[in-house]
């Protein structure tokens, strides 16, 4: 089963990527206001985007 020498590292790297993303989400305070986060998708009465933030205007 030499294939496991490929599949296990690939899978572990994918898992570590996931773990990294999870830590990123913790550090970037993604889970501070879960009720509000769930509610907010329901409030977009105009179906228009917000004006772009300064740094993204090109």
């Amino acid at each position: 089963m030499t294939i496991l020498h490929l599949l296990i590292p690939v899978t572990l790297v994918m898992g570590l990527t996931g773990l990294g993303a999870f830590f990123w989400s913790l550090r970037n305070r993604q889970y501070e206001d879960l009720e509000g986060d769930a509610e907010r998708i329901l409030h977009d009465d105009n179906d228009t985007p917000m004006p772009p933030r300064k740094e993204t205007i090109r």
């Binding site: 089963m1 030499t2 294939i3 496991l4 490929l6 599949l7 690939v10 899978t11 994918m14 898992g15 990527t17 996931g18 999870f22 989400s25 305070r29 993604q30 889970y31 206001d33 879960l34 009720e35 986060d37 769930a38 509610e39 907010r40 998708i41 329901l42 977009d44 009465d45 105009n46 179906d47 228009t48 985007p49 917000m50 004006p51 772009p52 933030r53 993204t56 205007i57």
Partner: protein
């Protein structure tokens, strides 16, 4: 469509399609005399057609309004229509394949219409054509709304959508010409695989760039599901399709792995494709459109995040349960089995979360067929994930594997979960995208719902019955220790169930045709929902099914 692109963007689109047309020409020349040459011509016509469509409107007026005040919905709209087109075609082929099994004369004796060639047209057509287009389209919609930001770019969304459809066309036409690398759900040959990698990486970059522009600090959970879908499918696709072409002038290639190594790679891919293509992406749809349509937040948002990380960390190891009782080492099989059983936890957490969201809104579920599509999808998600964990247990697998039970299980997931959540999401999103008052005919949505549900139930029950009968007949011994039934005996026993399956599939197909008709009529006939205020776009709040009072 073209009025939303600047001249520079139109030129960029022409450059891309022109370049692709040249690649098509090269393939056609190098692959002359091989089926690859035909694919070169298809690419040339596809890209050349796009080149002229864009070129024709090159100097049409440029967008006048500030584009950032609006979401960019044109690619989403086209994606929804393409998804419905593939649904009708691929489900039609599915009914045909099913009929061939019940009545082999339906083959009509042509080489291209043999079971082995049209079956992958059905599977790839529904998974990639119908499901893939729906995923791309809804992901464009959901990432913009939840980020409250416009798509990052105007050409790349089109490149992803149309490039993906070119891949689907090459895949389906290749099967009919006999091109396959014999890997389930990864049949297309090397050049199609390379093209898909380019498209898919662009998709990932587009998603990340749009998220980076978000005006909402929190990334809504649906986006995590869509992101996992895009990223993991890319890795799986690349590893499983590692192959050496026999020659650069022909379609044939040889896998980089052989024997059981290849089988392990294939099912590592195959099961994770089920996990991240057919589950994670559609869970993204569920977590956005179900709360939206029900007009209430998800029951436990915390649980939805937990189940996301559960799925991400458990699913990857489950693939080897497809290889019980094979040359794969016992411990690898056991590992796959264990993780498959553990998967029940995050799966049922999602299914239960969806149903609990509707708890207290059952009146809406009763009255609104669109919401009912999503509710029943969640039920089937719960059912088929339980069944999947159960079938992954080695002892159960000894009965179920290689029988129609597997087909029944797959279709409980594909029809009951994937297709129903997709149709529900399409009915929810079409009036919003085209700014219509509602669907053309709620009655037809109702018809579609019952046809789809009864079709699924007929199909799945037929396959459960035939699969278990098959499994039992194959393992029944006489007193003298020989097999009691020949293979043909079991085949004769299957016939009534194969007929029932064809009928169930035909029900499901007619529902899809009704749905496509309803969507087209909504676009053509239903009055535009005129804005009350002088907004550039129109409020969703006026929609009957999303009452503001909730």
């Amino acid at each position: 469509m073209m009025e939303n692109l600047t001249i520079a963007e139109r030129q960029q689109a022409m450059l891309l399609s022109g370049g692709l047309a040249l690649v098509g020409l090269v393939l056609a020349i190098v692959g002359h005399g091989d089926a690859m040459g035909a694919h070169g011509w298809i690419t040339l016509f596809f890209a050349g057609g796009l080149f002229f469509v864009v070129g024709n409107a090159l100097y049409a007026p440029e967008p006048t309004l500030d584009r950032t005040t609006n979401y960019y919905d044109d690619p989403t709209k086209v994606g929804i229509l393409l998804s419905l087109f593939w649904a009708v075609v691929a489900m039609g082929v599915g009914v045909w394949v099913a009929a061939q099994l019940a009545w082999p004369d339906f083959r009509f004796d042509a080489p291209w219409s043999s079971f082995g060639r049209i079956r992958p047209v059905h599977t790839s057509g529904v998974i990639f054509g119908f499901g893939g287009n729906a995923l791309i389209a809804t992901s464009y919609h959901v990432m913009q709304r939840t980020s409250r930001a416009r798509l990052a770019g105007h050409v790349s969304p089109w490149f992803v959508l149309l490039g993906f459809n070119l891949f689907c066309i090459i895949a389906a036409s290749g099967y009919l010409m006999g091109i396959t690398q014999s890997k389930e759900y990864a049949e297309p040959e090397w050049y199609a695989d390379i093209w898909l990698v380019i498209v898919w990486v662009t998709y990932f970059v587009l998603y990340m760039r749009t998220l980076a522009r978000r005006n909402e600090p929190h990334i809504y959970v649906a986006n995590w599901y869509y992101m996992a879908f895009i990223l993991v499918v890319a890795v799986l696709h690349i590893v499983n399709n590692l192959a050496v072409p026999a020659s650069f002038g022909a379609a044939k290639s040889y896998s980089a792995f052989s024997g059981v190594q290849d089988a392990m790679t294939q099912w590592w891919y195959g099961h994770n494709a089920v996990a991240f293509f057919l589950t994670a992406g559609f869970l993204g749809m569920l977590y956005y459109f179900l709360p939206k349509r029900a007009g209430r937040p998800i029951y436990s948002y915390r649980l939805s995040i937990l189940s996301f990380w559960g799925i991400v960390f458990f699913y990857i190891w489950a693939g080897s349960h497809h290889l019980h009782y094979t040359a794969v080492p016992q411990w690898v099989q056991t590992l796959g089995m264990t993780f498959s059983v553990m998967l029940l936890v995050p799966s049922w957490a999602s299914a239960g979360n969806a149903l609990m969201t509707l708890n207290g809104a059952w009146g809406k579920v009763r009255d609104d067929a669109t919401l009912r599509f999503m509710m029943v999808a969640a039920v089937f998600y719960g059912l088929s994930t339980f069944e999947g964990s159960f079938m992954a247990i080695r002892a159960v697998n000894s009965l179920s594997h290689y029988t129609d039970w597997t087909i029944g299980h797959v279709h409980a997931g594909a029809m009951g979960w994937v297709a129903l959540i997709t149709f529900g999401s399409i009915y929810a999103v079409v009036p919003i995208l085209w700014r219509r008052e509602g669907m053309y005919s709620p009655k037809l949505v109702e018809w579609h719902f019952w046809l789809a549900l009864s079709g699924t139930v007929i199909y799945v029950f037929a396959m459960w019955n035939s699969g278990i009968i098959q499994g039992l007949m194959w393992r029944t011994y006489t007193e003298s220790g020989t097999l009691a039934y020949s293979f043909t005996d079991s085949l004769v026993a299957m016939h009534p169930y194969y007929v029932a399956r064809t009928i169930g599939g035909a029900f499901f197909l007619s529902g899809a045709i009704i749905g496509a008709f309803n969507v087209i009529m909504t676009i053509r006939k239903v009055r535009e929902d005129t804005p009350e205020l002088d907004y550039p776009t129109k409020s969703e709040a006026g929609e009957p099914a999303v009452p503001a009072a909730e």
